[in-house]
């Protein structure tokens, strides 16, 4: 069981952005591939309690991407957008819109090698602070649902054991 990378989230109050950063024990090329290749994405991208049921990626500027996840409670949610710039192994810029949100965010993924590791920084920019806040809230909602799904699984396991 690994302790996992520490993630820092910065929400500048005077700005319409969110910045996420963390250090991952791998080289930039591998992280870039894992972030963009459907064969890899299906293996790690789905949040806990979800499976990835669709993953379309056209990795070139102007190309579209779409991920669809299915929760163990039967609920589906999708996210997708368009690639704006692709610098293999270093930087990726794309739009991202969660189903149900009115406008996309522009996401810049930056990969900086650091010894054997990679500093990963994701900057999400929104058209307005209201949209930024809606996104933060939705991210939280997904996180809350994951916790509920875990709880359901746990309860069901206990019921099976008791029976």
């Amino acid at each position: 069981m690994s302790t996992g990378p520490d993630v820092t989230v910065v929400v500048p109050p005077a700005d319409d952005s969110v910045r996420l950063s963390g250090c991952i024990e791998s080289v930039p090329a591998n992280i870039f591939a894992a972030w963009t290749d459907p064969a890899h994405l299906v293996r790690w991208r789905a949040p806990r309690g979800f499976t990835m049921m669709r993953c379309d990626v056209h990795l070139n500027p102007g190309g579209q991407w779409r991920h669809v996840f299915l929760g163990s409670d039967g609920d589906e949610y999708g996210v997708g957008g368009v690639f704006l710039s692709v610098a293999s192994g270093r930087r990726l810029v794309y739009t991202e819109c969660l189903d149900g949100l009115p406008a996309p965010a522009t996401v810049a993924l930056d990969l900086e090698p650091e010894a054997e590791r990679t500093q990963l920084t994701m900057t999400l920019r929104y058209a307005s602070s209201a949209q930024r806040d809606a996104h933060l809230r939705l991210g939280s909602v997904v996180a809350q649902r994951m916790i509920l799904i875990d709880l359901n699984t746990y309860v069901r396991q206990r019921e099976t054991c008791a029976a």
Binding site: S2, G4, P5, D6, V7, T8, V9, V11, P13, A14, V18, L20, G22, I24, E25, S26, A29, N30, I31, F32, A33, A34, W35, D37, A39, H40, R43, W44, R45, P47, R48, G89, L120, S129, A130, R132, D133, L136, R137, G139, S140, V142, A143, Q144, M146
Partner: protein
């Protein structure tokens, strides 16, 4: 467009003078006059900022007629940090899965090692 409390808190925090006022209030209660001192703006302008902060629930005013000291209210700030913390945990788990997956690939020594996993061949 809805103006919920989270958006109001962010909007109130978006102004540098208002953030500076909150910083001063972290040291304790202050009357408006004292709050205005370090800024190059008039007391009425400070009052305007205070109204925004009050509306967002970040500042409360005392009851005494003349003095009415301002104090910091931590509730809305706590709400923001709770939202952000949940969001952060969500991404931490995501990065964690990514790292575990990449380690798994490495230990399997896919292909001739060192190559980026997958892209194209395999």
């Amino acid at each position: 467009m809805e103006t919920d409390s989270l958006s109001m808190t962010f909007a109130a925090l978006a102004d540098p003078t208002r953030r500076a006022i909150l910083m001063r209030l972290m040291e304790g209660e202050r009357p408006v006059k004292e709050l205005a001192e370090p800024f190059d703006i008039s007391p009425p302008a400070v009052t305007k900022h205070l109204k925004v902060l009050e509306k967002a629930g970040l500042v409360a005013r005392g009851r005494q007629a003349q003095w009415r000291p301002c104090r910091l209210e931590a509730g809305p700030l706590k709400e923001i940090s709770d939202w952000v913390e949940r969001y952060r945990r969500f991404w931490e788990q995501s990065f964690d899965r990514l790292e575990d997956y990449l380690k798994e690939l490495q230990s399997r020594g896919d292909g001739n090692d060192k190559t980026a996993p997958g892209r194209g061949k395999s």
